[in-house]
Amino acid sequence: MKYVLKKLLAMTATLVAVSFLVFLAFSLIPGDPAVSMLGTQATPERLTALREQLGLNDPVILRYLKWLFDFIRGNMGTSYSYSLPVTQMILEKIPITLTLSLMAFLFMLLTSIPLGIYTAKHKDGKVDRVIYIINQILMSVPSFFMGILLTFLFGLVFRLFTPGGYVSYTVSLSGFLGYLIIPAIAIGLPKSAMAVKLLRSSVAQQRKLDYTRTAFSRGNSINGVLYHHILKNALIPVITFWGMAFADMVAGSIIIEQVFSIPGLGRILLTSISNRDYPVVEAIILLIAFVVIAANFIVDIVYRLVDPRISKTS
């Protein structure tokens, strides 16, 4: 319990630090939301008036504290460019990005666990060698390029999906999920390749240990040893990787959303950055930071469940 409390405290501190850094970065980069809102109708008087109205003339620290207190009270402010409440804007887009990341995560689990175990079991066999090479290739291809490649392959050659044919989840859930499969694979593939590699070497390492030999000497079959004894131990480093991979996927979907024209958080984040719409940017970046921290937190908890030794030593 004390551990959880400590973790939560560290988490909050990190989020506050991130939010302040974003604020600081925004006050350092050129451009200003008032200019972007008024566009070509900007006259010096109108700019001054709008800056005053938005409170942009206050010092950064003051603006930050104001924002922070509003945020704590659950008020994320209003988007400068859209005049929409930030909460509403983001809530509408979270399901899109989250679904995409979850699908990518699922894809990674479904492909990497069986393949990882298979290659570990048949280490140095023919299949293992082929998979090893494919893994190396997949790991080195960035997900956005994989996205373009998959669009070309499945969209134009096999015609299995319509590029740019995104369907909103409010219109058709199946259409929505269907469209996200290819983008999810694009994000998931490189991670899956890494997970396979990790699991394979982790299992291989465990196989060299004494307890494995003991397990074999007790007359267990290879499958028995693998599933009953080795896997649990071998999964520990892999779980760490999963946690990081999920956080990475959420962040990675920002790029993939551009490639596949998916109107999720990533698209909003990018346009808001170029519009200097910092209430929106601030909220989305905090959300992503939160996901990263939460993923690590969950990994810690899962560790303890898988291996009770960890909580005893710490």
Partner: protein, 507 residues
């Protein structure tokens, strides 16, 4: 532990199989186009939906379907009645009297009243922020309700062209009691607002109680297609039925299933020069640059030879003012250009920077061709690509630049919309152009009440801008609109608007 793990795995695989199975039902749901159209637009409406506050041209062109002012423009460039059924301008050009159209309704079903009109116009003229919310309203002295169907606008100085400012979306009539007009727009136009999702779409629906010719297509979705490279794919794949502003290369990639209409963008594209900096404060240098370029060559490189050459700050859709002969004030003449440079004291040329917003491919391409052309007269132009926001703040607002390639549009149907910015004291004179004769002629034109004399004075202004080489004028860019052959009825306006209400379904 092991059993649990397997269970989870099983559950996951079932879920994935389900998703894959479900995705099989996508693809062919394009059948029910009975009365819908999905229109691709390159940029989102990153703006307030309140017509009095909206500034982006991309927002206003869409809102044109939802809002109307007392009057509105038609596709021939005339001002026609809208919320007002008729109007009268006093002979001295100071009092405008409007009669409210009988029985005209807002989208929420309520009748439009003179109070709504007064509130809307007062909001436009509101100076609580220092300047009026809608700059064109700086001249409004008062808005008075005469009786329950008559409203008059009194101007502080005579202006017979104020009527065209009233046709702008910014002067739209909205309900006086609509508290959240920024997110729930209610107007009197042929379409009513349904919903919007940032970076995704903007949806509107036919307004059945529209006072005029009703719209034909019932449901209209503007879909944001941020990825310009996939537009052709989107059209062919059917995820959009229509796209505004294609490039000529995209048009070439389309097949027979699409109608492509060619119009002009109604922009004055030029190499705008900062007339206040060396060496552009010397008219001879500016003229030399004009002699150095060949607009046709630029059009060939940038827009497949399409486009209309311009010689001054006016585009051809304004038929009344456009003067073709200004295109020939400077024809490419390298010798002449070099001579002028020598006279100006730059026999070996000079170096300057063209600042271009990187999001406008056509302007970036134009700048590149220009830089090549200037090499022939010994002038080196470096191209500096900037973000649109940086362009707005550095070039447009701070006027801190040498030269820039951009397209300037007109906010209303009068020449002053394009010419006003070259008056030396104008707020939006981003080129720092300063010419006493021009200021005088422009002031005369504004005050003139006779239309023929007025047009003549405006043309004089145009001639001054051309002779003085205020900027290096290039072209009005071509605009291609492509739509599926199922639809027809697209009309071009001389303004930056999209009128969807006239489109209909063929079969």
């Amino acid at each position: 532990m092991k059993k649990k793990g397997i269970k989870i795995l099983l559950l996951m695989s079932v879920l994935l199989t389900l998703t894959i199975a479900l995705c099989g039902c996508t693809g062919d749901k394009a059948g029910d186009t009975s009365s819908t159209i999905t229109i691709g637009i390159p940029q989102d409406l990153e703006d307030s939906l309140d017509p009095h506050v909206a500034v982006a041209a991309g927002t206003k062109e869409v809102l044109f379907n939802i809002f109307e002012g007392l009057v509105k423009p038609d596709s021939d460039g005339n001002i026609v009645p809208a919320v007002a059924s008729s109007w009268l301008i006093s002979d001295d050009g100071t009092v405008y009297t409007f009669t409210l159209r009988e029985g005209i309704k807002f989208h929420d079903g309520s009748l439009v009243t003179v109070e709504d009109i007064k509130k809307s116009l007062d909001t436009c003229a509101d100076t609580s922020n220092g300047t009026p919310l809608v700059p064109a309203f700086s001249n409004v002295a008062s808005v008075n309700i005469i009786d329950e169907k008559t409203v008059e606008i009194v101007l502080s100085t005579p202006n017979t062209e104020f009527i065209s400012d009233l046709a702008n979306i910014n002067a739209a009539i909205i309900p006086a009691d609509n508290a959240d007009s920024a997110t729930n727009p209610i107007g009197t136009g042929p379409y009513k607002y349904v919903s919007r999702s940032p970076q995704e779409n903007f949806v509107m629906e036919k307004f059945d109680d529209y006072w005029g010719t009703p719209a034909n297509i019932k449901d209209v979705t503007f879909k944001i297609c941020a990825n310009a490279d996939s537009v052709v794919m989107d059209l062919k794949g059917g995820s959009i039925d229509m796209y505004l502003r294609l490039t000529s290369a995209q048009v070439d990639a389309l097949d027979d299933n699409f109608t492509v209409d060619e119009g002009t963008m109604n922009l004055v594209q030029a190499l705008y020069l900062n007339n206040a900096v060396e060496p552009f404060n010397n008219p001879k240098v500016r003229q030399a640059l004009c002699y150095a370029i060949n607009p046709q060559e630029i059009m060939d490189m940038v827009s497949g030879g399409k486009g209309t050459e311009l010689g001054s700050s006016m585009y051809p859709s304004f038929k009344k003012y456009f003067m073709t002969d200004l295109n020939d004030v400077y024809n490419q003449n390298i010798e002449k250009a070099k001579e002028l440079l020598t006279e100006a004291g730059y026999p070996d040329g000079f170096t300057f920077t063209i600042t271009v917003p990187s999001n406008y491919t056509q302007h970036v391409d134009t700048a590149q061709v220009l830089a090549e052309e200037f090499k022939a007269i010994g002038v080196t132009a470096n191209i500096n690509l900037v973000e649109w926001e940086t362009w707005l703040s550095d070039v447009y607002a701070a006027r801190n630049y040498d030269a820039t390639v951009i397209g300037v549009d007109a906010s209303s149907l009068t020449a002053s919309a394009l010419l006003g910015r070259f008056v030396s004291t104008a707020d939006d004179n981003f080129t720092n152009y300063s010419n006493a004769t021009y200021d005088e002629t422009y002031a005369k034109a504004l005050a003139e009440t006779d239309d023929t004399a007025k047009t003549k004075l405006y043309q004089e202004c145009l001639t001054i801008l051309a002779d003085d080489a205020a900027n290096v004028y290039i072209q009005d860019l071509p605009e291609f609109v492509a739509y599926n052959k199922k639809y027809a009825g697209y009309v071009f306006y001389p303004l930056y608007v999209q009128d969807i209400s006239k489109m209909y379904i063929v079969k």
